[in-house]
Amino acid sequence: MEDMNTDSVALQLSALRKSFGSTVALSQFNLDIASGELVTLLGPSGCGKTTALRIAAGFEQPDSGVVRLLGTDITQLPAHKRNMGMVFQNYSLFPHMNVLGNVGFGLKVRGVQASDCAERSAAAIERVRLGGMGDRYPHQLSGGQQQRVALARALVIEPQLLLLDEPLSALDAKVRAELRDEIRALQSDTGISTIFVTHDQDEALSISDRICVMKDGEVQQIGTPREIYFKPANNFVARFVGAMNEIPSATVAEGNRPPNSTMLLRPDAVTVCARGEVGSLDAEVAGQHFGGSTTMVRLQLELSGVVVSAQLLSRSINLSVGDKVGVVLNTNEAIVEP
C-alpha cells in the first residue's frame, strides 16, 4: 500500500523502531515531511530526536520501519548516497580545510569540476553572509560563523532534505536568535524540506511550519505551532510547550467543572484587576519576575492558597509584593484534565 500523496511528501518515516540494548529510543515513530516544509522535532533531552534524524540520514538502521524519500524506500541506502545535508550541534567542520574547502567538499566528492565547484561554494558562502572569509580555518571562526559554514556546506549540495540537529544549542542567546531567523529565511528561499531538532520550545514555536512533540521515543502530537500551543493533545504537550498554571477545579467556583479535576491555564489567560470586581478572586502578589516587555506575576489566591502565574504587559502594571488584588481566570481558554 503506497502512500496516496507521494507527490507532496518529501520524506516519510513509517513505524520506526530503534532500541539500544534495553533503551528504546524510538517506538512506532511516524512522521511525514511535506516538500518545502520545515518540521521541528521537539522534546526533552533523550526522547529520541537525534535517533530519528540519524535514521533519516542513514547513520543508524532502524530495527523495523521504513524510510521513504519521494516515495522510494531508502531504508537500506547508505548515508553517502542519500543526498541529504546535515548540520550537527558541534559544527563538525573539517578542521584541516578552510571555509572554501569545507563548503566545496560535497561537490568535490561528487566529481564537480574545480571551477564550477569554487563558484558554487563562493555563492553558498555569500548566502550565509560569510563573504570574504573563504580562506579562514574553522579554528579562526566564532561558533556562529562555524555553524554558518556548516549550513553553507549542507546547502551547497542542493540536498533533497536538510537535517539540523540542535544547530543553535551551542551558541549564545543573541547569535542564536539571529541565526535562527536566517535559517528560516534560507529555508524558505530555497524551499528545501527540512527537519529541525531542538529541545527549546521557543525556538520550535518561532521557526516551524509544523512541530512534532516527542516523549520517550513516541510522537505526542504533530501540528502547527498554534495548534500545539493552544490545542495541546495531552497534558505532556500542554506542560512541555509554554508555561502552564495547574489549578484544582475546586478553586474556581463554577458548576460545570468536574469536582476533582485539574484545570490547565496559560499565564496569558490570567489577568489582574482591582479587588472585588465581578468574577474576580481575591489574591495577594507573592512575587514577580520581570521579563522585559512582559512580567510574570505570581499570585496567591486567598481562599485556597493556590499560586497562579499571570503574564502581564510590564507597562500596564505597577505591583509590589504583598499588594491585595483581584484575579480573573479566563477559563474559556482552559484545558480541563480529568
Binding site: 547513520f59 548515508a79 553517502h80 542519500r82 560535497g106 566528492v109
Partner: protein, 237 residues
C-alpha cells in the same frame, strides 16, 4: 667534526639513519594500524585496555632483556629459527641475521610499534565520528573519507610520530649492543668504542664529534616533531 663524517664513520652514521628510518617507517605503519583497529573495535572494552597497557609496557622495553628475547627467538639457535627451518625456511640463507640490519629492524619494531600506537591513539580518538558522518552525509564514500579527511587529519600525528620513532631508534644503544655483542656499526655503539669508560683512547675527540652529530640529527628530528604536534593539537580542539 669533519673526520666524524668521513669514511667509515660517515658509513656508520648513514647506517644508523637508514636503520632508524626503516624502523620508524614500519613502526609508523603498523602502530597506526593498531591504533585505528583498537578504536574501530571500541565496543570491546577490555581489548583496548589490554592493548594500551601492553603497548605502554612494550614501548618502554628494550635494552638487554629485549635483545635476549629475540636472540632466543630468531638468533642462530633461536626457537623460531629452528621451527622455520623444520618447515624448510632457512633464515640464514635468506640473508637474515639477528645482529644485522634486518634483525635489528625486527627487534626495534618490538618497541617502535607500541610507541606509535600510543602516539596515534589520541589522534585517532580525536577523529570524531561526526566528521566521518559529516563526510558521508556530503556524499563521500569510505575511500573518499580516508583520502580527503581521515589521512590528512592524521598526517601531522603520523609524521610527528615518525620523527619521534626515528629519534627513539637513533638514540637506542643497548639493544643493538647486546644483539651484536658489541660489534655493531651503529653510531651509538661506535661512540662507545671511542670512549671506553675512563680510559681516554687517542680518538676520544672523534667520539665527541660523533656525539655532536648525533645531537644535531636529533634536534632536527625533534623540532619537526614539536612543530607538527602543535598543528595537530590545534585541529583536535
Amino acid at each position: 667534526m669533519l673526520e666524524a663524517i668521513s669514511g667509515q664513520y660517515l658509513k656508520s652514521i648513514i647506517f644508523s639513519v637508514q636503520l632508524s628510518a626503516v624502523t620508524a617507517l614500519l613502526g609508523m605503519l603498523f602502530g597506526s594500524l593498531v591504533a585505528i583497529a583498537i578504536v574501530s573495535l571500541d565496543r570491546m572494552r577490555g581489548l583496548r585496555n589490554v592493548m594500551v597497557g601492553y603497548s605502554a609496557v612494550a614501548a618502554n622495553l628494550g635494552g638487554i632483556p629485549l635483545a635476549f628475547a629475540f636472540i632466543s627467538s630468531l638468533g642462530m639457535q633461536g626457537l623460531y629459527t629452528k621451527m622455520l627451518s623444520a618447515i624448510g625456511i632457512n633464515l640464514t640463507d635468506l640473508g637474515f641475521k639477528i645482529s644485522d640490519f634486518s634483525g635489528i629492524v625486527i627487534v626495534y619494531l618490538y618497541f617502535q610499534i607500541p610507541l606509535m600506537t600510543l602516539v596515534m591513539l589520541p589522534a585517532v580518538d580525536g577523529l570524531k565520528i561526526t566528521l566521518k558522518e559529516a563526510a558521508a552525509n556530503l556524499g563521500a564514500n569510505s575511500r573518499q573519507y580516508w583520502r580527503r579527511v581521515g589521512i590528512p587529519l592524521l598526517s601531522p600525528s603520523l609524521l610527528g610520530g615518525f620523527l619521534l620513532l626515528f629519534a627513539n631508534a637513533f638514540a637506542a644503544y643497548a639493544t643493538a649492543f647486546a644483539l651484536s655483542a658489541g660489534g655493531s656499526r651503529l653510531v651509538s655503539v661506535q661512540i662507545r668504542f671511542f670512549l671506553q669508560g675512563n680510559t681516554i683512547t687517542g680518538k676520544s675527540n672523534l667520539g665527541y664529534a660523533l656525539a655532536a652529530w648525533m645531537v644535531i640529527v636529533m634536534i632536527v628530528a625533534m623540532s619537526g616533531y614539536l612543530g607538527l604536534r602543535q598543528i595537530s593539537e590545534r585541529w583536535r580542539k
